[in-house]
Subunit: 334 residues, 2 copies
DNA sequence: GTGAAAGCGCTAACAT
DNA sequence: ATGTTAGCGCTTTCAC
């Protein structure tokens, strides 16, 4: 594996010149740069990140902290971030959070991440105060995707607006008994988002003078199977709701499966709306509020990249657009 | 951020001793080791991966190459691998493949991966001959998860056995018109797995003297929405199959949604069986052949870790178990 | 069992 | 525009 010396020797220049030429720094004659570049290409030379990192203090790597990979939102964000990072020659390190297994507290102290990453992108996480303090003490650029976290820059949607879109749609159709399957207090999940959506569900109802009794909410943990169970309970009782607003499309799928099991027709007996526009939502014919997590991941990557290259930090919160997508799971109450 | 010198000074020993003590090397008195360990803990010292990597040639990092994050199999494998890697103090970094956008060819040459990773774990990928050659020329330990690839060690299930389990079940129930929704020639996908499963579907039928006409196979691209479309075509015609064997659970979900849209009752009008036992399969009440990709990811991690620590390479192919899980989507033909 | 010293392959001043 | 010289923070001989 060739080193910078091989390239330097081959061109009859110093290693410093090679370094400058390859990194696009000024003060290299076009001719020399050309020479160096082709020599590097021929030798298949790539600077060792370890050596470069050691001497420059830059690792060209960012850590992506995820509570759980197995969610559509997560994979989309990770893909978007990875792509944007790679485009700038950065690598993305994964840091799984092992929620509830007390791996969390040790994250920032024990992990190699500390010295390996130039920045961190964290997903939908409600950091504990300790973690937040540690994060700051690392003095690394950081951004959170998918949930407002005090003191850290954020990219995400306007959750209030998203819920209003969904609820406004159901209310306009004439629904009055609208239940909510949402998230709640999962370990490591960002409860902020769940709470915001739940609160706005209630507020939307109350603004119309409609009741939002506690038993019309059930936690679906942002997981489809759990949401299905929640919906089974919700729809099994008396005074059945005519519509369900799910806090995510995955949970909405669970509601749909529950409705099918109960023999309820959609949308005649039950309307369902979610948030996300998951890749499968069209197949479920699900009405939903679209967001673009891949774009959010890309935006987050660009934010930390900018910060690393000295661009003054933008607004502390970047809003990604949402829009209502009406499909077949919603209609007037039967 | 404290360095090895701080720890050495604090203990009145040399940096060499600190290094030895912390890494559990021999020739350190228990007393000294104890001293060093607590000093390191107090200072919150962690060796800089860049420096350690530079001098030792070991980065304590492995690359995970994925064609697409957005598949259940992928996320499970990645989580399993990440966990096993982290347990040994290794970091995992992601390399997305950007299928079809000609990012593939440049993977091994341009990427930092070359010098940053000690090993690579690749998922369900059918490497091109070029890539395979490059991979070897890196001389890094490598293992592929989820599809036999010539010349690279592999962990995965016995695909033939898995298909026989699924098909045996349908045949035992008395089905004779069994269609297949599978994978085919996607860019970057491992066609080997898709082909193996398709071939065995056909073989299972033919062993019983049953026909397996070409139009009873449709490509679902290992994606749910595409599988739904395939199933719609498959089930819409005359001489409708009484059962569908899907090459993955995600594709099976698509078949189930298609059946619902067509007003077919499951399992009375149509039986469906998949492969995976996806986290959502129980909610769909799907009969399937279970595999454990998270365990496979862990196994892959342990294979490369072993190889890195000089343990002689085991068998070139490690088989992960499969088992039939009978649920409600299969029954005798109506 | 422990220390001294020589790098690992780069980048960043500082010269020229 | 280019070269020289120090390190960056570790690991690793090789002495002791």
């Amino acid at each position: 594996m060739s080193s910078i010396h091989d390239v330097a020797r081959r061109c009859g220049v110093s290693t410093a010149t090679v370094s400058r030429a390859l990194r696009g720094l000024p003060n290299v004659s076009p001719r020399t740069r050309q020479l160096v570049q082709s020599a590097a290409a021929e030798l298949g030379y790539v600077a060792s990140p370890a050596a470069a990192g050691l001497s420059s203090g830059r690792n060209r790597a960012v850590a992506i902290v995820v509570p759980s990979m197995a969610r559509w939102f997560t994979t989309e964000v990770v893909e978007g971030a990875d792509r944007a990072l790679r485009a700038e020659g950065y690598d993305a390190f994964l840091v799984g959070l092992e929620v509830g297994q007390n791996g969390r507290e040790r994250l920032f102290t024990d992990s190699l991440l500390r010295k390996r990453a130039d920045a961190v992108i964290a997903l939908g996480i409600d950091f504990t105060p300790d973690e937040r303090r540690e994060l700051r003490s690392l003095a690394l650029p950081a951004v959170v995707v998918g949930g407002p976290v005090a003191g850290v820059r954020t990219v995400g949607i306007d959750d209030v607006a998203a819920v209003r879109l969904a609820m406004g749609h159901l209310l306009a159709l004439g629904h009055t008994r609208i239940a909510h399957v949402g998230g709640e207090d999962e370990w490591g999940m960002d409860l902020t988002v769940a709470l915001l959506r739940r609160r706005e569900w209630r507020a939307a109802l109350e603004r119309r003078g409609l009741p939002a009794p506690d038993d019309r909410f059930r936690s679906g943990g942002f997981l489809m199977p759990m949401a299905k169970r929640a919906a089974l309970a919700l729809l099994g009782g008396t005074e059945r709701p005519t519509a369900v607003f799910a806090g995510s499309d995955e949970m909405a799928f669970g509601v749909l499966l529950a409705a099918r099991d109960l023999g309820l027709r959609v949308p005649e007996d039950l309307s369902v709306v979610g948030i996300d526009d998951h890749a499968w939502s069209a197949s479920f014919d699900l009405t939903t509020v679209r967001q673009d997590p891949e774009a959010q991941g890309g935006a987050a990557a660009r934010m930390v990249l900018d910060e690393l290259s000295g661009v003054p930090a933008q607004a502390p919160m970047q809003r990604s657009p949402v829009s209502l997508v009406v499909r077949g799971t919603t209609g007037p109450p039967g």
